[in-house]
């Protein structure tokens, strides 16, 4: 791309304090009038150095730390981490614990998708959708609070199984909640498909062709909305997923609307799985004794977090402290995609396009992705403002 004269464009910074992104991230948009030329996503605000901290704590303490990598998918991180460590230890997790892990994982997916649908409405200036979906989300929070004692950060997982059991007394009440949620999700599906202004703002925006989704290694609902069938629960089943039957939801239109639609359908699949867990959960104890010292070895575990494929690589050199823990979160993979999608759209769509990949900065916390065809950019927002954009109205 020819070297652009920077002063012809305005560079608009979004964030780090910005109502569109609930978390601190900065997005530098080089804008030509209302059209975005290229985007530079800077996420280092959220980097806390968790991997280095994990090397100074014992395996057991790390469960507490790794759960706090991200608020919305905390159970995913601990399940993935515990599965990897259990693989190194070579211990067999009891069947009932596997079912409870999958159950909490699916509940977390439902609340994460409902949260996402709500904030999408908020990004589009439609707070009614936010209020409706978050009101229904409270039902899930109540259910999680009843099982695990907390609305977020459930601390359910430990090496060898789970720490709290599902009491059969609650099952009728849970079933009732699931019926209510299924009916509400169907209502949202109807709203998403019918509401005129929602369609106008999401149809055909940030189209991600299948080929590009594969080439840029997109993950999760973002890539499934572009007809790429990658789902760790189906291809690389873990916990209780081999015994639960569900379909991997894909859609072919690949735009922001399709991602919303895929997420809503995934909620229905999750409800279906939760019902199966409630019907078929086997008896038996929920935890097996695990040694404090982890034998020498390494393991890598894939997990389908609400936002996509999550990888935990754990390596132990035979002590109580890990040698290396590598966390690759789903949003980490989608940042390259977000930058590609941001080209050529107008400012009004930027929040919805970035939010469509459901970024979780605290998960990714790690990367700055920029348009690979361009050199470095010094952020000169104020000077660039002086020699203002295309209208050529002269300096302010």
């Amino acid at each position: 791309m020819a070297e652009k004269e920077n002063n012809k464009k305005i560079i608009i910074p979004f964030g780090p304090q910005h109502p569109a992104f609930k978390e601190s991230m900065r997005l530098d948009l080089c804008v030509d009038g209302e059209i975005v030329e290229y985007a530079d996503i800077i996420v280092s605000y959220n980097h806390r150095g968790i991997e280095k901290a994990a090397e100074q704590r014992t395996f057991l303490q790390n469960i507490y730390l790794i759960e706090r990598v991200c608020g919305i998918c905390s159970h995913s991180h601990t399940t993935c981490y515990c599965a990897a460590v259990e693989e190194i230890m070579g211990i067999e997790v009891p069947e009932r614990a596997q079912y409870i892990r999958s159950f909490i994982g699916e509940l977390e997916r439902i609340q994460s998708h409902l949260l996402w649908i709500g904030v999408t409405g908020h990004e589009l200036g439609w707070d009614t959708l936010l209020m409706y979906s978050w009101k229904d989300r409270e039902r899930i929070n109540d259910m999680l609070e009843r099982i695990t004692g907390n609305r977020i950060h459930y601390a359910m997982n430990t090496f060898g199984g789970v720490r709290r059991d599902l009491s059969p007394g609650d099952f009728p009440r849970f079933k009732e909640d699931f019926d209510f949620l299924e009916e509400r999700t169907k209502y949202y599906l109807h709203v998403i498909a019918e509401e005129e202004t929602f369609l106008k703002r999401t149809r055909g925006i940030a189209f991600l062709p299948t080929e590009m989704a594969r080439r840029l290694c997109a993950v999760g609902p973002t890539t499934r909305a572009s007809n790429v069938r990658i789902d760790a629960r189906a291809d690389d089943p873990y916990a209780a997923y081999p015994d639960l039957d569900f379909e991997v939801v894909t859609h072919d239109s690949g735009d922001v609307w399709a991602r919303t639609y895929v997420k809503a359908l995934e909620i229905l699949q999750s409800i279906r799985m939760c019902r199966q867990v409630l019907d078929e959960i086997p008896g038996g104890e929920i935890r097996v004794k695990a040694p404090l010292k982890v034998p020498e070895g390494e393991a890598i575990c894939r997990y389908e977090a609400p936002r996509g494929e999550l990888i935990h690589y754990v390596r132990s050199s035979g002590g109580t402290m890990p040698d290396r823990i590598k966390i690759r979160s789903p949003t980490f993979g989608n940042w390259v995609v977000a930058t590609e999608l941001l080209k050529g759209i107008c400012i009004a769509d930027v929040p919805i396009v970035v939010y469509a990949i459901d970024p979780c900065m605290s998960c990714s916390a790690r990367i700055t992705v920029t348009d690979s065809a361009r050199g470095t950019v010094t952020e000169t927002t104020f000077d660039a403002l002086r020699r203002r954009g295309r209208q050529g109205k002269g300096a302010v």
Partner: protein, 327 residues
């Protein structure tokens, strides 16, 4: 002497400053409450807008350094004044306003379009990035809703054969049936008013999630209080204007309520006016709840395709009605 006192009372007390201030705050409360109730929320208490106003008055008034000082500070007052003066021509009790002029409908429309212009000037003068983009958007939106709004507001004038709001109300009072003819225009005017006051789904210049505070990002303290007040009174004046020229028929003739020697009709007409205005505020709050924010190009597209056509269609009906069926 008494004339001046009476005029001062009209201007400052009753349909003027004080009344508009209170009715504006009340309308903002109705708007926020309806918006909250439609979202299963409880919504703010009745004194909330008043508390917000007083609190903002007490806050520190920051003027950023490289700001166009004159415009930045006094534009809110200009907008406030322009919105306030247009109430003089709108009848509040009965069918006659305080100062009925032959062409005051046009004057009101002109005064009422200074408000959106002030958004642009504020955005322009507060030399930071987000207000500037907000200002551009306010200006581009101007071309969207201004024409349909004026088209639909002039239709009653053509029907009544007079450009004064009082004249229109007199005509509608005599022929209440002709209000049905004006129904499509009323719908289009409602949507155009929603756009003129920059309320969702047309709040593109204030788009919170895209350009932070939008046009008012740099404002704080008194200036912000005055601008919020201007928006509230704009809502009241807009609602009363539409109530007068589209729903003018709901008015009681004089002397209908004489009770113990006193003529109570103006009082009941005033209550009717309040009811009409609140119905319109309710409808505007409904629009605000039900739709997502449109992009600037979609908004222009929508307003030229549907609103402008609606306005022309309304004019056509009025001509047919006035021409054939006769006044």
């Amino acid at each position: 002497m008494t004339g001046i006192l009476e005029a001062a009372a009209y201007l400052l007390i009753f349909p003027g400053f004080l009344f508009l201030l209170c009715f504006g705050l009340f309308c903002e409360w109705v708007d926020r409450r309806v918006y909250a109730r439609l979202q299963n929320r409880v919504g703010p208490p009745i004194f909330q807008p008043f508390a917000d106003l007083i609190k903002l008055m007490g806050k520190e008034d920051i003027i950023p350094t490289n700001v166009d000082r004159l415009l930045f500070q006094y534009m809110p007052l200009i907008a406030f004044a322009s919105v306030m003066t247009s109430v003089v021509f709108i009848p509040v009790w009965g069918t006659s306003a305080i100062l009925p002029l032959p062409g005051d409908l046009v004057v009101t429309l002109y005064l009422f379009s200074i408000l959106p212009l002030s958004f642009f000037v504020i955005g322009w003068s507060s030399a930071s990035l987000y207000p500037l983009v907000g200002g551009f958007r306010a200006a581009t939106m101007l071309f969207g809703y201004e024409v349909p709004f004026i088209l639909t507001c002039l239709a009653p004038g053509m029907l009544a054969g007079s450009w004064s709001v009082t004249g229109i109300m007199d005509y509608l009072a005599v022929h209440p049936a002709s209000m049905l003819v004006l129904l499509p225009g009323f719908a289009v005017a409602l949507v155009a008013l929603e756009a003129k006051l920059e309320r969702p789904p047309f709040d593109i210049p204030h788009a919170e999630t895209e350009i932070v505070g939008g046009v008012f990002t740099e404002y704080s303290g008194k200036k912000l209080a005055v601008m919020r007040m201007t928006e509230d009174i704009g809502l009241v004046v807009g609602a009363s204007l539409l109530a007068a020229i589209f729903l003018g028929g709901f008015v009681l003739g004089d002397q209908t309520f004489v009770w113990s020697g006193m003529d109570w009709t103006p009082f009941f007409n005033f209550l009717l006016y309040l009811a009409k205005a609140l119905v319109i505020v309710f409808l505007l709050a409904m629009i605000r709840t039900l739709f997502a924010r449109l992009r600037i190009d979609q908004m222009l597209d929508f307003s030229w395709k549907y609103l402008a056509m609606g306005g022309l269609f309304q004019l056509f009906i009025v001509m047919v009605y006035a021409g054939f069926i006769g006044r």
